[in-house]
């Protein structure tokens, strides 16, 4: 039997010495490796007055490897196309020609812009998310968290991509004063009157208010008799919590509360809560009476398209304009955009706003007529 008997003190010193030596070894390894600090990105003050195209391109290059974190994946390791090694202008042209390309971009600049803020529109072959068969891009939108590039910075990167291979830079130098802090959401001008609020959020697309409007949602002129202020407020903020009888849930945008300022919401609630005893006439049901009207013009008015889209010379700006839609989309895409509006969202417009149930409201015949009508707007 191995039976050395030791003074406990000796064991303590030895085992502690051994442990300390081991810890120091690990520390040594950590200190032998390259010592690099990872600075948090600092928002660069861009002096717009002194900006030249050269310095703008240089800013783009800095952003490419710095704040934009592009170089993390776009390098020679095959995670993503090696932007520094390929001619991006030529590549952009090829992608625009590709039959797989379905996005709205028409030239190199708009394509590059789109690929930065909405990378999923066109996924380069073999670079899609695993298992998605190149339909989903693993790239984050650079204007969103966590990258949060400003418009000026995005354009600087486009300028850099054009200039690095000797092409003319087509993006224009930023001139007007930019939003002060690129990380803050764009400052929204608060609407001041009930008319402005209603117009701004296109309430009349679906509701009768201020004497006119659609019938997709319940009329809003009779609220005061039936609802308290709190319920009205609730109905705006979380529309699906309480659904008026006979109306489908999920149609009204869920994010109104996020879009509105406090003041706007108050104006709206104040108005709705105080306008009940008035004798506004209930909306005339247009589409339900008589034979199904499938002339495109009347459909456009009865489905309230112009509340959000500009077409036939008038309409809102909440959604993309529809004059000339036929040159951008083919018939099948137009159809899809009506029955499943969130499948493809035009650049610069929010998703989830357009009602999802048009396919239920329209007959097949009506849908065909509408698609044909829109497709002819070239």
């Amino acid at each position: 039997m191995n039976n050395e008997i030791k003074a406990p003190g000796g064991v303590l010193v030895k085992s502690m010495g051994f442990s300390l030596a081991l810890v120091l070894l690990f520390t040594l390894v950590a200190n032998l490796l390259p010592q690099v600090e990872g600075e948090a990105p600092v928002d660069q003050e861009v002096d717009l007055g002194a900006l030249t195209m050269d310095s703008y391109v240089a800013l783009g290059e800095t952003l490419f490897s710095g704040k934009g974190t592009c170089a993390l994946c776009h390098n020679d390791l095959g995670r993503a196309p090696d932007i520094l090694a390929i001619n991006m202008v030529e590549v952009a042209k090829q992608h625009l020609q590709d039959e797989r390309y379905k996005g709205p971009a028409t030239d190199v600049e708009s394509y590059l812009y789109e690929s930065l803020v909405d990378p999923g529109v066109y996924v380069v072959k073999d670079y899609g998310k695993k298992g998605s068969n190149d339909t989903i891009s693993p790239m984050p939108a650079v204007d969103k968290s966590p990258i949060e590039l400003s418009e000026i910075e995005i354009n600087a990167i486009i300028a850099f991509m054009q200039a690095k291979d000797g092409y003319d830079v087509t993006v224009s130098l930023p001139t007007e004063a930019p939003a002060a802090d690129p990380t803050s959401p764009e400052v929204v001008e608060s609407a001041g009157t009930i008319e402005e609020v209603v117009a701004k959020y296109s309430c009349q697309a679906c509701h009768v208010i201020l004497g006119s409007g659609g019938d997709l949602g319940p009329g809003l002129e009779q609220m005061a008799g039936h609802f308290t202020r709190e319920e009205i407020r609730q109905g705006i903020i979380a529309p699906d919590e309480v659904i008026a009888e006979g109306f489908p849930p999920g149609v009204m945008p869920q994010d109104l509360a996020e879009q509105m300022t406090v003041k706007e919401l108050d104006i709206l609630v104040d108005y709705l809560a105080s306008h009940g005893k008035s004798t506004a006439t209930p909306p005339a049901a247009t589409s339900s009476e008589g034979a199904v009207d499938s002339s495109a013009e009347s459909m456009i008015s009865s489905f309230g398209c112009q509340a959000c889209h500009a077409i036939l010379g008038s309409g809102g700006k909440l959604g993309p304009g529809l004059d000339g839609i036929g040159s951008r989309l083919n018939a099948e895409e137009i159809r899809q955009s009506i029955i499943d509006p969130n499948a493809v969202i035009a650049k610069g417009f929010p998703s989830g706003v357009m009602p999802l149930n048009y396919s239920e409201q329209m007959s097949e015949e009506q849908l065909d007529a509408l698609v044909a009508f829109l497709w002819e707007r070239k």
Binding site: M1, N2, N3, E4, I5, K6, P8, V11, L12, S15, M16, F18, S19, L20, L22, V23, F26, T27, V29, A30, N31, L33, P34, Q35, V36, E37, G38, E39, A40, T62, S65, G66, T69, A71, L72, C73, N75, L77, R79, D126, K130, P138, M139, P140, K144, S145, P146, I147, S184, P185, V187, V188, S190, R233, I237, A257, E258, M260, T261, V262
Partner: protein, 621 residues
């Protein structure tokens, strides 16, 4: 009773924590959606008027995450991050220990109950003795951590309170319950030792582990929320219920990873206790007891350690799925060098574990049959280890490239990239399991008729699995595209798992009625006991390291994508700096553990009564 002193501090502390949380909760940190509407709009309106301007209160009911400016962070003259770093790490070390020990203690207790072997019960009881002092220290550091966080990062904590709200109170309550159960479990051990009472005791142990596990997953959800927030919108306003906030994409991978790692860590720490007692033993009987205890601890540690890389793999895969950018920051960006250090640490653990198993084979005569294999295993382990620590390519910003003098490390070669490392890691695991298996076999002689066939099968599984791992790594790793390369690493991992599982199963059947050769506990070299010190040291350092990586992938965000870190410490420090921090916490931990061991011994020590007392007693009689 010296030990009863332990009672007061955690219970008082948990009361303190509840009080602090309750106070903060009732104060202005209340999320506005819990207030009546009118009050909520007041809160919002006030905010418009005050601090941050219109953008904060654009939403009436939904409050976005705060955006503290640099001057909103209290300046205490030294790095706030370092303070929180040290305290949090100490809390986590002890928390891990306290959660893990009762877990395997319960298993050992059950083992003792089913075998009727009192040694198990005694050992389990002794393990708990370590856990109980550690618990007070956990509570102390937990309270300190909470205070430090609220003092140094008030905006972040306000936001987390907003997101988690009442869950933190539930946490405090459970903490209270954990204290009570732990004390009943430990101090009731001898009172409920036999018969039905034992089952009551075991049930309390089960409850204790249930509460402990719940505490852990709740605390994990705070960390994973900060890495991959869920239940909030783009600006961080809470839109989901508490369950949606907790159940982020990284929550379960972290839960599993921490659960397993805690067991390995706890096993390693109590192993060091046993090693120390073994070395310091004054009788052969004591030495044998602590040798056996050390062996059991090591067994637990290594067994829990083997599946850990797979849990880690899952975690990394989920991180990549959540955000490729975050994944690359960890594995290919600035933090990638830390994985070299990780390789050194895991290498140390595997070498120490293997060495301990090989030394332990001297306890029985039967080991002679396997002795010859050891040198080959050692050679394979060393080669794999070297491949593993070969640095691979790093993706760097221009500044980093300048600092390194090139984007590729000069040691970059075909051995530096992932497929080679995957082969190395998997082979190291397989060969460690081989050591483990021959150790387990060394004191047994199989008596089943199919022994030859069973051995042939086992050998075939080893050989084919190893060939498969090398083939998958080399072929898919170097000759096909990236997708297949990544996919093939799963094949490798599964091959390793097949070896481990089939090894356990085959041996379980093959040695069911085996003849056992005599083993002599205590008949082991002193040097082998040092492997039991190396293990917890490397584990502790490793835990500090990986915790740091996990936390750092958020880069300059408190809560990734929704709340920026604007503190002076929002940069990623150098590896050297981080390494020094890890050494500080490890040394601190070791010192506290020494204190715990000392306390555990103290309760066994009885002072001989002074002569005067004896005399008086004698006279009285």
């Amino acid at each position: 009773m010296k030990e009863t002193r332990n009672f007061s501090s955690p219970i008082l502390l948990s009361l303190l924590v509840i009080a602090v949380l309750g106070f903060l909760w009732s104060g202005d940190m209340t999320p506005s959606h819990w207030l009546p509407e009118a009050a909520a709009s007041e809160v919002a309106a006030e905010e418009v008027a005050t601090a941050e301007g219109a953008d904060v209160a654009q939403e009436l009911k939904l409050r976005p995450a705060p955006r503290p400016a640099r001057e909103d962070y209290p300046d205490v003259g030294t790095s706030s991050r370092s303070i929180v770093w040290i305290i949090a790490q100490m809390h986590l070390f002890f928390g891990a220990l306290v959660l893990a020990v009762p877990l395997f203690v319960l298993v050992i207790e059950l083992l003792g109950k089913s075998t009727g072997d009192a040694r198990y019960d005694d050992m389990a009881h002794e393990f708990m003795k370590i856990s109980i002092t550690a618990y007070s220290i956990t509570a102390l550091f937990g309270g300190t951590l909470a205070l430090a966080l609220f003092l140094l990062y008030p905006d972040l904590m306000a936001y987390l309170m907003q997101a988690f709200g009442a869950q933190m109170l539930v946490y405090a309550m459970l903490f209270f319950m954990e204290s009570i159960l732990l004390y009943i479990y430990y101090y009731g051990w001898d009172a409920m030792r036999y018969g039905n009472a034992k089952w009551v005791h075991i049930s309390i142990g089960l409850l204790l582990n249930g509460v402990g596990g719940t505490l852990m997953v709740m605390a994990n959800s705070w960390a994973t929320f900060m890495m991959a927030p869920s239940g909030v919108n783009e600006v961080g306003a809470v839109i989901g219920n508490i369950w949606e906030v907790m159940k982020g994409p990284l929550w379960n991978p972290i839960n599993l990873h921490r659960f397993i790692a805690n067991i390995a860590f706890g096993g390693a720490v109590v192993g060091a206790y046993a090693a120390y007692k073994c070395l310091a033993a004054r009788t052969a009987e004591d030495r044998a007891h602590y040798d056996w205890m050390g062996y059991t601890s090591n067994f637990i540690a290594i067994l829990a350690f083997l599946p850990l890389p797979f849990a880690g793999y899952w975690l990394m895969a989920e991180i990549y799925a959540y955000s490729q950018q975050m994944g690359i920051t960890a594995m290919g960006g600035i933090l990638a060098w830390l994985f070299i250090v990780q390789a050194v640490l895991i290498g140390t653990i595997l070498m120490a574990g293997n060495y301990y198993l090989w030394s332990g084979m001297s306890r029985t005569e039967g080991s002679k049959r396997y002795q010859g294999m050891i040198k080959y295993i050692a050679v394979v382990l060393v080669i794999c280890f070297l491949i593993w620590v070969t640095p691979h390519t790093l993706i760097l910003t221009s500044g980093e490239i300048a600092a390194l003098g090139g984007s590729h490390h000069h040691l970059l070669g075909p051995l530096g990239i992932m497929p080679a490392k995957n082969i190395a890691v998997n082979l190291m695991l397989i060969f460690t399991f081989l050591s483990f298996q021959i150790y387990r076999r060394s004191d047994k002689v199989a008596t089943v008729s199919w022994e030859k066939a069973g051995n042939a099968l086992m050998v075939a599984i080893y050989v084919v699995a190893i060939v498969n791992i090398i083939f998958a790594g080399v072929y898919y790793g170097y000759f096909t595209n990236t997708v297949y390369k990544v996919g093939a690493s799963v094949t490798q991992v599964v091959s390793t798992l097949v070896v481990i599982i089939s090894g356990v199963v085959i041996d379980a059947f093959m040695y069911r009625k085996a003849k056992t050769l005599p083993s002599f506990w205590g008949q082991v070299s002193n040097r082998s006991q040092y492997a039991l010190f190396a293990l917890p040291i490397a584990f502790t350092w490793l835990m500090a390291l990986m915790g740091y990586v996990r936390s750092s992938v958020r880069t300059h965000w408190h809560v990734y994508t929704v709340m920026k870190d604007n503190s002076p410490d929002n940069f990623i420090p150098t590896i050297g700096y981080a390494g020094n921090m890890m050494t500080i916490v490890t040394v601190m931990f070791v010192l506290f553990v020494l204190f715990i061991f000392w306390i555990a011994n103290l309760s066994n020590t009885k002072q001989a009564p002074p002569l005067s007392v004896t005399k008086k007693a004698g006279e009285a009689a």
